[in-house]
Amino acid sequence: MTEWGLALLVVWPLLWGALTMVVPARQVTVAGGLAALVTAGLGVWAVTLSPQFLVLGNWSTPLGLGWRLDGMAQSLIGVTAVVGGLVSVYAWLDKGLPPTFWGLWLGAWGAMNALFLTADVFHFYVTLELLSVASVAMVALTPGAGATRAAFRYLLVSLTGSMLFLLGVALLYGRYGVLDMTLLAAQMTPDWPSMLAFALMTVGLLAKTAVFPLHGWLPQAHAKALTAVSAILSALVIKAAFYGLMRLWLEVFGPLATVSASWVLGLLASAAIFWGGYQALKTARLKRLVAWSTVAQVGMLVLALALVVQAKAISSVPSVHLWQGLVWLIAVHALAKAAWFLAAGTVQKRADSDYLAQIGFALHRSPISVVAMALAVISLAGLPFTMGFLGKWWLLSLAWELQAWAWLLVSLLGSLLTMAYGWRLLNLSLVNRGLPQALKPVSVARDWVALCLALLGVMGGFGGHWFWEGV
């Protein structure tokens, strides 16, 4: 029964995504919406399964493809299901969305589910490629030259990233003759070709996760995209590439991921945090601020990964729930960033302008979106009563255990920066001098979806202990 369910998890969104090309435009939103909700249901159901290793087509792994459902994959599938489901509800309410959005979104979703499940390195490349094609297409949905240029730049960076990743896969196959992650991890020896493959694949994935030196494409792409699309990109698509990084560093290239290697990650992460924060403080546009905050938060995630790698390398440190913390931080960012982007999009639609100077009145008139944004900022900054706070506590205690003072300081400064640019926005909502202007009518339901996502970020904090002990 479980194999049938997992198969459906991947096949259902892809099939319905393909079918949306045939369904006439009027019914597409309904068909797409329903398919999305069913996928969300499947995703949540998948979380309840017990971890297992599944072989496709009864061909044992070195030859065939393996699906692995361990704690990390399950939680990410669950996060994608929850955030994806709610963003689909928002997209269903957003009338301005072109119908092809649904086909692309379901394709991306199917790709992400397949990506989280796969245990094969080349299959990971193919799913990542499908995800990138769908995401680039979604960015290009917005009319206007800006979006097309941003989409083209996104395509270029992701193609280069994929090529480097594939080059790494070729070297790995040349060296070990095996493509399955678990088998690779077993045979991995720190010799020159493996190190080269490791470096190439890491750079490839760093480009796709938009970590500091290779982040150029993200602000335009996420700022120019439609609201629902930018939420999907920031909250979910980035995480798929980061998941790849997690798999490589924590599992496939275990012996190679030494402490000095984690220093490289840490430096990149710190640069991302400070540069992203600085730009977020400087920018004058709403969605660009949220996009730059994604760059900074991705930095925090990579910093957490660096710490976990360091912990695993020393391995004397008691495994204080290493990967759970990482997945927890991913869930925090997914929920908070999706809520922030949706709320920002609604407010921007009401004020019909993206400039921070002109949205004062719209902010003032959409209290629910402001609360959603406030909760999202609080969760990202790691202030209490949110999942973010627990995530930050875990990160700090891990840094303290490893005596990694630099990273301890960076993560603290990072969350302070988050508060700084987050409050820049909240200040606007409390200033009641915004000049009254005609606001575009936007259905309140969309604010509630954003608030619902933000509240999940808060409620998640309470339900956490079954995640930490259970999974």
């Binding site: 094609v133 097309t148 989409a151 270029l156 090529m163 080059l167 040349g174």
Partner: protein, 93 residues
């Protein structure tokens, strides 16, 4: 012996592709550079396959998959470029 030459050729293609990508001024050149690079990577995979007779079928299957992915990415890139050209032409006149 011939395997080594072709792997050098493959790496040459990859390096030229990277150089071309860095140096390109026009979107089309960037796409061409990426396709040159992917041809290089595929050739590397095939040299891995041809190290010992009989030629290993798995990398060849990977290359087939890779070619289709490369062509779809190229087609998408060109579609974006065409639209960009149309939009810029509109904005000029």
């Amino acid at each position: 012996m011939s395997g080594l030459i072709y792997s050098l050729c493959a790496l040459g293609l990859v390096m030229i592709g990277l150089y071309g990508l860095a140096r390109a001024h026009h979107g089309l050149q960037q796409l061409l550079a990426i396709n040159v690079m992917s041809a290089g990577v595929f050739m590397l995979l095939l040299t891995m396959a041809a190290r010992h007779p009989p030629a290993d079928a798995v990398p060849q299957a990977l290359v087939l998959t890779g070619i289709v992915v490369a062509i779809s990415a190229l087609a998408l890139g060109l579609a974006l470029l065409r639209r960009l050209a149309a939009e810029e032409a509109e904005s000029h006149d």
